[in-house]
Symmetry: C2
Subunit: 138 residues, 2 copies
Amino acid sequence: MRITSSIEYATRLMIALGREHGKAPVSAERLAESNSVPTDYVSQILVKLRRAGIVKSRRGSAGGYALSRPPAEVTLGQVVRAVDRGVLEDVCGKYDAGAKNCHHQEACAISPVWSRLGAVITEYLESVTVAALLQGDH
Amino acid sequence: MRITSSIEYATRLMIALGREHGKAPVSAERLAESNSVPTDYVSQILVKLRRAGIVKSRRGSAGGYALSRPPAEVTLGQVVRAVDRGVLEDVCGKYDAGAKNCHHQEACAISPVWSRLGAVITEYLESVTVAALLQGDH
DNA sequence: TCATTCTTGACTGAAAATGTCATGTATGCT
DNA sequence: AGCATACATGACATTTTCAGTCAAGAATGA
């Protein structure tokens, strides 16, 4: 349970793009350089953000990336989900193969706890917007 | 960011040991069988729980493991910390090698967010005790 | 002494994280 | 049209972590 490099990188990129919101798109190369993200790694992260609908891209000269929504409408939760796996990911399913929610016990005591933990994490991440990060509100 | 098998296993073991609190110690083998934890893996998890002071062990025949505190005084946070790495783990330090808290920027906007996320997670995990899991309070 | 059980560390295989690279495709400019 | 720019995609390599196995040793009780 930790913050991966991808999450860190994605967050930096979002802040950088947030600063340029409304202006011309920024190339992947410039984003990589100015945010200390490995040059050839930045594309992979950006494509995930694009597939999640958070950023949009334009090819060709004068192309690059830009936010598809205003910074105030982009949350950290959206960013994290775009580049990272979930918190839960079938933990309880491993308890007994084929079982849903540990049904081999009358009542699984654990499953609801991980669900609530996931909810707690999501709730916090959704409460932080890129706009807030730009303004230092936190 | 996910719940690992070790965390799941450790939690199951704590519940099992919580049920036996006050009675005779339970052997690793029995714990493994009755909780669907791989037999040879259970020792590694138990030793971490012991080093964290959560369980105590006794060797020899009629030996085994037992909680070192009542279930109500053991939190999920203690268990998770015993078997897993932290949430943060120097993420921001990677931003610029040698820099503390992204000091190459006047004010790092990201670092405080991960700190608060860690606090939110810890707060929830600390609020859940083994006793609560035994009673189904959650 | 002997069976039981924990202790420790080494070892292995699989999966995930982290990058790198090469090839292809779209766009704008001249 | 032709060219440089820049994204798109997938393959590949490396490192780290996770998950699990195994074996030799030490302590304990009968």
